[in-house]
């Protein structure tokens, strides 16, 4: 899959930018930090989302907040839309350009500014790769828990803008839970600081949270202040295999019912498991119908106790086999393999469309059954994996964007799955954001009053509608 363009739907022609705008940018940016040629722009026409593609007008690489502010002011003067981007790994089209826009790529703002071991905080520019944040904390005996699948290349700014989740969401929450402060450049070019190193702070509205998950539509994040935790003393990874998906789902309910909160509780169906194994070769049992990857962390004694209780619960719920990772390294290898699931599924069919429907945990088994029935009904291929522990599923459609008939059936199935998730009290997207990919479904979930509140906020912060326009809602 990939770029959108099925040969039958040509890409919209790029809109020309005002020449004075480009000339001003060219004065402001050194040669390597502004891209204008077609060969340079095409690779910035997409992110990690299937079937979406749009050529930007120009790409710039600012080095600091002042330079971001300058671009926003210029864009406002010339009424040019601005799309902010990090590494372009988003999964809802949040950083896909809009026609005639300037792409503000923050990849060069990539310094870790401070690790404050006394206050357990880390301050970084938005272009720092998530993995580097984890590693820097780890080296200081600390822990940054959010671990989205693309963490080895995603940027922290993108994580905050999309409020990214990850494998550890069940116990540790998502990116939002670790953001203490932000520096944001607003649409008019002013620079604001929201939040600080204080654990408690109730001075004024909590605007920091407004920008987390705002998908680049309200402002441009130019610095993040993150909360760190002490590194857990021990970790243990377990693998349990099942002959049926239901048995796996029941195991999860039983683990939670026993008041155990593992750090990771991941689920892979057989299709996913086979693709992951074909790539990563970590010894996953490819004959199993379903697999649970479970990790517990914390004090060594607690980990040992939880691991054996989990083992017992798995066995009681018809696990075919339960295996403990022999070492911490093997645990990391297994989690890394799991993170490749989405990309690995692309081995099967030309186009891979990843969904992110999430339901309250108690409804998981129902939701999975419904996904499989719907896929059968519409004769489409679906592989499912996801974060079982927090109800966040990734049903993934394996299709071919050039087959119009099949794409229609995929859309029909997708819509039914969304509707069903909402009827169970769920959400369209647990961690990928709305972007372009899900905006058609958003009104149904939010309702008129909520949607118009969102629009009021957008209008007051971005009156000209230039910040990532057309994302989340029109």
């Amino acid at each position: 899959m990939s770029s959108s363009s099925s040969p039958s739907t040509p890409v919209p022609a790029p809109q020309p930018l005002p020449p004075a705008f480009v000339a001003a940018l060219q004065t402001a940016f050194a040669a390597g930090s502004i891209l204008t040629s077609r060969e340079d722009l095409i690779p910035y026409g997409f992110d990690g989302t299937a079937a979406l593609k749009q050529l930007p007008g120009v790409v710039v690489f600012p080095k600091d907040a002042a330079s971001v502010s300058g671009v926003l002011k210029l864009a406002r003067t010339h009424r040019v839309p601005v799309v902010t981007r990090g590494s372009g790994t988003g999964l809802s089209g949040g950083s896909v350009p809009v026609p005639g826009c300037v792409v503000l790529c923050l990849a060069d703002m990539n310094r870790i500014l401070e690790l404050d071991a006394k206050n357990l905080t880390l301050s970084a520019e938005p272009g720092v790769i998530t993995q580097r944040i984890y590693d820097a904390a780890d080296a200081a005996g600390l822990f940054y828990p959010p671990d989205p699948g693309s963490m080895k290349i995603s940027t922290i700014g993108g994580n905050v803008a999309e409020n990214a989740g990850g494998l550890r969401g069940l116990k540790y929450g998502v990116t939002r839970n670790y953001v203490m402060g932000l520096e944001v450049v607003l649409a008019d070019g002013s620079i604001v600081t929201l939040g600080n190193k204080c654990v408690k702070d109730v001075a004024g509205y909590n605007l920091r949270d407004l920008f987390i998950g705002s998908e680049g539509t309200l402002g441009v994040i130019t610095r993040v202040l993150l909360r760190l935790l002490p590194k857990p003393g021990a970790r243990q990874t377990l693998l349990a295999t099942y002959a049926s998906m239901d048995a796996a789902a029941e195991t999860v309910s039983a683990i939670i019912a026993e008041r155990i909160i593992p750090c990771t509780l991941e689920f892979l169906d057989q299709r996913t498991l086979r693709c992951v194994e074909a790539f990563a070769k970590v010894g996953l049992p490819t004959e199993a119908e379903a697999l649970l990857l479970i990790e517990t962390d914390g004090h060594p004694a607690a980990v040992a106790d939880e691991a054996s209780r989990i083992e017992r619960i798995c066995t009681q719920h018809q696990a075919l086999a339960v295996r403990r990772a022999a070492s911490a390294e093997e645990g990391v290898r297994l989690a890394t393999a799991r993170r490749s699931a989405f990309s690995a599924l692309a081995r099967l069919r030309p186009t891979t469309i990843l969904e992110d429907a999430t339901v309250p945990r108690s409804e998981l088994a129902k939701m999975i059954r419904f996904i499989n029935e719907t896929a059968q009904k519409h004769r489409v291929e679906v592989a499912t994996f996801g974060h079982f522990g927090d109800g966040n599923l990734h049903p993934t459609f394996l299709t071919d964007e050039r087959n119009a008939d099949e794409m229609h059936r995929v859309e029909a199935a997708m819509k039914e799955i969304f509707d069903y998730a909402l009827s169970l009290g769920g959400t369209l997207t647990g961690e990928h954001g709305v972007g372009l990919a899900k905006k058609a479904y958003l009104p149904r979930q939010l309702g008129d009053a909520t949607l118009s509140l969102l629009k009021t906020i957008k209008r007051s912060l971005d009156p000209d509608g230039l910040l990532n326009p057309g994302k989340i809602f029109d």
Binding site: S5, P43, F279, P350
Partner: protein
Amino acid sequence: MSSASPHSELSVQRSALGVSPSAPAGSDNLLKSLDYSVLQQCMHCGMCLPTCPTYVETGRERHSPRGRISLMRAIADGELDVTRAFGEEMYFCLGCLACTTACPAGVDYANLFETARAEVERRQVLDTRQRRSVRWFALRLIFTRPRLLRFIGRLLWLWQRSGLQALSRSTGLTRLLPGRLAGLEPQTPRIQTRFSDGLIAPVERPRTGQVRHRVALLTGCVQDLVFSDVNRATVDVLLANGCEVITPRTQSCCGSLHAHNGDTASARELARRQLDAIDPGSVDAIISNAGGCGSHLRHYNHLLHDDPAYAERAAMWSRKLRDIHEWLAEIKFRPPAAPVGGAPAFPVTYHESCHLCHGQKVSRQPREILKSLPGAELRECGEATWCCGSAGIYNITQPETAGWLQTRKVGHVQATGATVVATANPGCHLQLENGLRAAAAPGSTPPVVVHPVVLLARAYAAEAAGRPS
């Protein structure tokens, strides 16, 4: 060259320079004629980005695997012409294939990259008179004619041994060379006194024990001139492990240089010549000991799949092609016994040739060999799977990026404190040797670069002689 061959697609006329056969009917370029699903396979997830050296160096998507693939796809979709900038981008790519190891989606980047370069050559967007002459000289003349190559090797050897090289260096004569060549002159590899044919008999059998396998050895071209000792050592370790070794005389280049540089026609012709020289049906395995060659040699099946006369033979060839380390591990090579008196301890690190680890996925086996050596202490170096900047002729065409990679590599190697660096590709070998020599503190001895098989052969020899190696 076998211009008499009915299948010859090669012509050594200057007019046909580096131009691949025209694109198949029904399409106006090679990328368009490629099975679209190969291009579509990339779902632009970005998982390959952190492993791509050119992306890490520049931070620009155009220099990343998915960026390059998006440009190829734009050409296939008719959204971009084959421009000079596209051509330059295809040659800025190292062809190191690190992206294929990182890619969970299984994108066949090697295929895409070779097709793209072939299209760049077909359209001549990078064409200049000088480039044309160099390509003609290297791809069409020297590296298709084994006797000529060895003759030139002999001349170089004379130049080096006669003292003329030293003389021209001391008199500053080399300064008269054009800038880029003058920079390269100190890197000219030392040519061996004897090439493989002088060191290896056409058929060699183990002196003791029974013959368990029959294998053919590929001696390579650069390997043959500069590292014929590696070929000799390869024969020795094969003999020590019960293999009868057949080594055909005056072998041609395997064609990898041509395939990687967009000259598919020559690559196909050279593959046919290899298949004429060695009947894959007559041996249990065909052994390559150079990472770059092996990676290409394995894909003869793909290269000749549409050649009715050769497709079947090529398929069998690919099934039997083995890298030497892979083969030794497969036949459970005998670990050398520590010789009487004990072997002195030495720290060794391993640099993975791109086309051995990424191209052939052979990574564990060379380490098994190193670990089996008496006295060896294997110390892993950072970024062992990163390109050293040699990348075929990349260090000549893109000296800046090549230099950046070389420095990075040398730093990681030095950090291990190893006195021996093992690597299994002639290009890497020279690049490391030059880099380590240049970086060594005055008066100190830089680490020795050596092929793992040479170390193993020495250990067997020491064991036989009953003395420390």
